[in-house]
Amino acid sequence: MLEKILLLLSLSLSVAEGLCKPGVGEAYKVRFSIKTALGDQAYPWNKNEMFLFRAALAFAMRDFTNGEEFGVSDIHPCNETQRVSFWFVVTRPNTMDLVDKGTVEMAIKKSRNRINGAFLLTDKTLEFDGIYPTLAAPVSPDTPPWLIVFGVVMGAVSVGIIALLVYPLVQRKLKKNMDADDEDSDEETGVKTAENGANDGIYNSTFSDDERFTQM
């Protein structure tokens, strides 16, 4: 019994190794740039991290196929390098049939954020060769912000223009009312009426500088 199990295991392993061929068929390449992403807090890459990757990918497959019981053993990595990059293939649970590239791609796309999160990486630092991250839709608010700023500036300028145009007119009206009151009350003071008269007259600059002209 034990021998049979061992035989089956080794067979499956060897078959699996044969399954995962870099660049061929349904294999995907993945690249990790942990030091670039995390700097000092980078964790070292080891077998445990590889296990986490296989688990995350199995989760992605389960999530996408709605329940098909993918396990860690269905993700077969190979050709691991120092870069931290390797190829992998996915097989259907309990069989040796490879899952086609398209399905794998869609599964990864769906759960990309979860896979990234498991490794504290981003779309750029956890690269799946050939699977481009869906671009974030640009935020477009209902009212473009620039119109708001424009509205504020133009509002202030319009208020200013109206104020500057209306204020002297209002002042003049007030002054006229005040002058009318003054005229009624100070009819005897000739000086004041002369002043009022002078206000409406023509300012004659010839008399401002007498010495220049009186040469005699």
């Binding site: 030091k35 839709a137 640009p138 912000p145 620039w146 708001i148 700023v149 133009m154 145009l165 007259g201």
Partner: protein, 617 residues
């Protein structure tokens, strides 16, 4: 004080500071920020300062002094002044009027662009930092991908530019409202003439210096700033042997000081007569040049920072490619040991290395990418701002600074239009100055709608290159000739003696009589010759061009060429026309009206003195 009835008293500056700030604001404009650093860079850095300062001393300061003195003594705007000196050269004032109007129209369009960018700087992230998605939402917009997001934002989202000046496209509504805002802001500052302008310049003339200082401090702390500064100031003495350098220095000084617009004459005519205009002229000229030099320091620090960022990005790209290809451990190749690895891999695996076709990363080449004008402000600078932490703040500050610089120059342009109009007595007396200013702003706005078309940028460059150049040189030449030969050096010296208390010394006299006219003539002739040598071309943004994102060089079509000729000729045609008219009038009317130089001339007494004369005779 008569308001509407009878002759109005000439407006006055509240204090000397207002006058100086207005003149400095007029002279210091956007060109000090985006034209001078560029010239400094392409003409051998520190060495360019020599022809620049020589041109300032022998050409700029004499012209400035001349205009300020003439305006202050004769106490009239640009039309009245030349009419007073001799009616034959009265056309110079009309030429100033037309040039000021045309320049004001396109200059405010540039301010409208600055406003657009200012309004858009209040977003997170800045709209020119990323490309928009294309229709299928799978990839970025193609035009944006091929060029850069900054280029795309400028050419497509701001201007919506057409590939050719002949294709006018449609009116851009976003730009129209920015243009309306710009003209409204100009109007509110000019609403009460120099009473409101004098208050506005306290802000618009001083704020740019504050922002430049802030930028200076920030820019000097950016990585790569020293590379930019070294590149700017390392003198290349060889360039001094190139006559083109001297020509450009003389041209730059001339256009930078904003002489020949008539605005300076008007501004100084509002001064009291006994004012030391010699000192004012030297002050304004020196401050203008000092501002140019001061502004080039933060500009070049930021350009150095931008070049360094691009250089590091290029190296990062190559590092990633090498790490991925050779499967090295992550971060084995860093920016520091990049050169070592580059050499090692190139020599050890030459074929594999070549197959990667890595981009050549050259810092000097990146620093050499010099830009001036709108390219500097709206493309290069906006790109640099994205990489600076707190981008929105820097963008807002920068565009407000540009706007103040341009606004204070616009004051001079508008004054150069309004004062002559008042003196030509074309407008009815009952119109208050607020209404006149409003009408002028409205007409200018309507004319400037041409620049809000999709091909507007090309037209702005046409105006900038031809209206703002040749006519000004001609006007300045006639101004010097008018003052020195029509008014006479002796009378002018007396004028200056009355105003400042001493006669102009031998330096000023030599400049006015010989050196400055000669320099101006040389610049004018050389300018015309250089322009006439090649058929004028323009750079078009054509997404279908095979070398896109490079701009395509196209020839101006014939009808545009005709318009260019018109733009050069129409402003200055008034000079010979008026001269001819006056000469013919003088021929047919024997009696010549004496030129009354008396500034206290009161029209009410003219008939009396004539009667007295006839009585005595």
């Amino acid at each position: 004080m008569g308001k509407d009835a009878g002759p109005e008293e000439r407006p006055k500056w509240d204090n000397k500071a207002q006058y100086l700030l207005t003149c400095i604001g007029f002279a210091v404009g956007i060109g000090n920020v985006w034209r001078f650093p560029y010239l400094c860079q392409i003409y051998g850095g520190g060495a360019f300062l020599i022809p620049y300062l020589i041109a300032l001393v022998f050409e700029g300061l004499p012209l400035l002094f001349l205009e300020l003195a003439v305006g202050q003594r004769l106490r009239k705007g640009s039309v009245g002044v030349w009419k007073t000196i001799n009616p034959v050269i009265g056309g110079v004032g009309i030429a100033c009027l037309i040039v000021s109007f045309l320049v004001g129209v396109f200059y405010n369009t540039i301010l409208a662009w600055v406003l657009w960018y200012f309004f858009h700087s209040f977003q997170e992230p800045l709209p020119w930092s990323t490309c928009p998605l294309n229709e299928s939402r799978i990839d970025y917009n193609l035009e944006c991908k091929k060029s850069t997001p900054v280029n795309y934002f400028w050419y497509r989202e701001t201007l919506n530019i057409t590939p050719d000046i002949e294709i006018s496209g449609s009116v851009e509504w976003g730009m129209v409202i920015c243009l309306a805002s710009a003209w409204c802001i100009v109007y509110i500052c000019f609403i009460k003439g120099i009473d409101s302008v004098g208050k506005a310049v306290y802000v618009t003339s001083t704020f740019p210096y504050l922002v430049l200082t802030i930028f200076l401090i920030r820019a000097l702390t950016l990585p790569g700033a020293t590379d930019g500064l070294l590149y700017l100031f390392t003198p290349d003495w060889q360039t001094l042997t190139n006559p083109r350098v001297w020509l450009d220095a003389a041209t730059q000084i001339f256009f930078s000081l904003s002489v020949a617009f008539g605005g300076l004459i008007s501004f100084s005519s509002y001064n009291e007569e006994k004012n030391n205009c010699e000192r004012d002229a030297v002050l304004v000229g020196v401050i203008n040049s000092a501002t140019s030099i001061y502004a080039s320091i933060p500009i070049f620090s930021i350009l150095g920072f931008k070049a360094t960022t691009a250089f590091n990005a290029c190296k990062d790209e190559n590092i990633l490619a090498l790490t991925n290809y050779f499967e090295f451990s992550d971060q084995n190749i860093t920016l520091q040991n990049y050169d070592y690895w580059y050499e090692y891999l190139n020599t050890t695996y030459p074929e594999k290395f070549q197959s990667l076709s890595l981009r050549e990363c050259d810092l000097q080449k990146l620093l050499k990418q010099s830009v001036s004008g709108t390219g500097l402000a709206f493309i290069v600078f906006t790109e640099a701002v994205i990489s600076m932490p707190g981008s929105q703040v820097w963008a807002v500050l920068f565009f407000v600074m540009l706007f103040s610089l341009g606004l204070s120059s616009m004051f001079g342009n508008i004054e150069g239009v309004l004062a002559p109009l008042n003196e030509l007595k074309l407008l009815p007396r009952w119109m208050p100055k607020e209404l006149i200013s409003a009408v002028i702003c409205l007409i200018s706005f309507l004319v400037a709608l041409l620049f809000t078309l999709s091909s507007g940028n090309y037209w702005v460059e046409v105006f900038n290159g031809y209206v703002g150049s040749v006519p000004l040189l001609i006007i300045a030449l006639f101004e010097i000739i008018g003052v020195i030969y029509f008014r006479g050096m002796k009378t002018f010296s007396d004028d200056i003696y009355i105003m400042t208390g001493r006669r102009p010394n031998i330096f000023w006299k030599a400049c006015w009589m010989v050196i400055s006219p000669l320099l101006l003539l040389v610049v004018f002739v050389a300018y015309v010759v250089v322009q006439a040598q090649t058929r004028p071309t323009y750079q078009a943004w054509n997404p279908d061009y095979e070398k896109f994102p490079e701009t395509e060089e196209k020839l101006y079509p014939d009808w545009v060429f005709a318009i260019i000729i018109l733009l050069c000729v129409v402003p200055v045609i008034s000079i010979p026309l008026v001269a001819l008219y006056q000469l013919l009038r003088g021929r047919f009317r024997k009696s010549s009206v004496g030129m009354e130089l008396n500034p206290y001339d009161n029209d009410a007494f003219v008939t009396d003195t004539q009667e007295q004369k006839t009585q005595r005779a």
